[in-house]
Symmetry: C2
Subunit: 155 residues, 2 copies
DNA sequence: CTGCCTGCAAACTCTTTGCACGAAT
DNA sequence: ATTCGTGCAAAGAGTTTGCAGGCAG
């Protein structure tokens, strides 16, 4: 699907839900969909402001749930205090995250059988699974060899 | 292992690490190990204070990492804002959580092959897995039938 | 015109930290 | 006697919310 078609889909989603199409929501949409890697709410605010400098932090926080519910973004919580977001490109619900223990970088990867595995696990308790998430903490090769991840930016 | 033996193990752990055995740490230990279900830092504070009312919130937060590192407690983050803890009883690293979408209650369950699965996933990226977590959101039978989980306490 | 949406700033929740006092070794 | 541990309260980080004015429909 082209970028423009996706943008129209977002407008249609807003309208269908009785929500208004505002310049701020579109700026946030454009900023989010242009990202190739995981981003935080704060980073999204920064990018959205380059498109429309009237965008506020509050509106970013109010728009993120809308984009998540509309399946445009996937929310990823790796327990680091802040949430990350990524445009949904595919993989459906069979996506796992691998997080580097050193730099905190997040990799997404298709995890076949994940739904089946989650179902098997939860059905042992007689519950019906709604969703599952698999997250793996891992060391990259460079980290094991040099005690430092090449992607690390902090510290 | 008996409760007393476990308590002695905790004291030995503290001493070995050059940490002091204080009445507050022991009260927190006793309060935590007596729990059968997942608890929060706040709940632990409440229980610990019934044993020793001098225990402060700060000390609870400072003691939790010690108990987690010593393998006495397992830390569980389901992305709800607050962390949960549970005495480690078994299952090693092959433990998954099933969370009820309605009441938020957490069930722990042995998930065979989880390590293997996490390894398989992360090795696709050439990374060496350190740990993995599998969490499933699910509906219980009662919730599906009546739109309400019998264990729900809030709302 | 209505009423949803906005920016601002304050509020909130959970957790961490600086400080001076007190207790364990 | 040292030094670490403690309670208290303030600080911190990320997110949410009340309000008065603004803009979409």
């Amino acid at each position: 699907m082209s970028a423009d078609a996706s943008r129209e889909k977002f407008k249609a989603y807003l309208t269908a839900k009785g929500l208004r199409v505002t310049s701020q929501r579109l700026a946030i949409y454009d900023a989010a969909l242009a990202r190739k890697e995981h981003f935080t709410a704060e980073q999204l605010l920064e990018h959205a402001r380059r498109i429309d400098d009237s965008v506020s932090r509050a509106t970013v926080y109010r728009t993120l749930p809308i984009m998540t519910e509309s399946q445009l973004l996937r929310e990823v919580d790796i327990g680091s205090g802040e949430k990350f977001y990524l445009p949904v490109t595919g993989g459906g619900t069979q996506v796992a995250q691998v997080v580097c223990v050193d730099c905190g970088r997040i990799f997404e990867i298709i995890a076949p059988f994940m739904e089946w595995y989650g179902s098997t696990v939860s059905q042992k308790l007689g519950l019906k699974p709604v969703s599952q998430r698999l997250q793996v903490s891992a060391q990259c090769i460079a980290y094991r060899q040099h005690g430092r991840c090449p992607n690390r930016t902090k510290k």
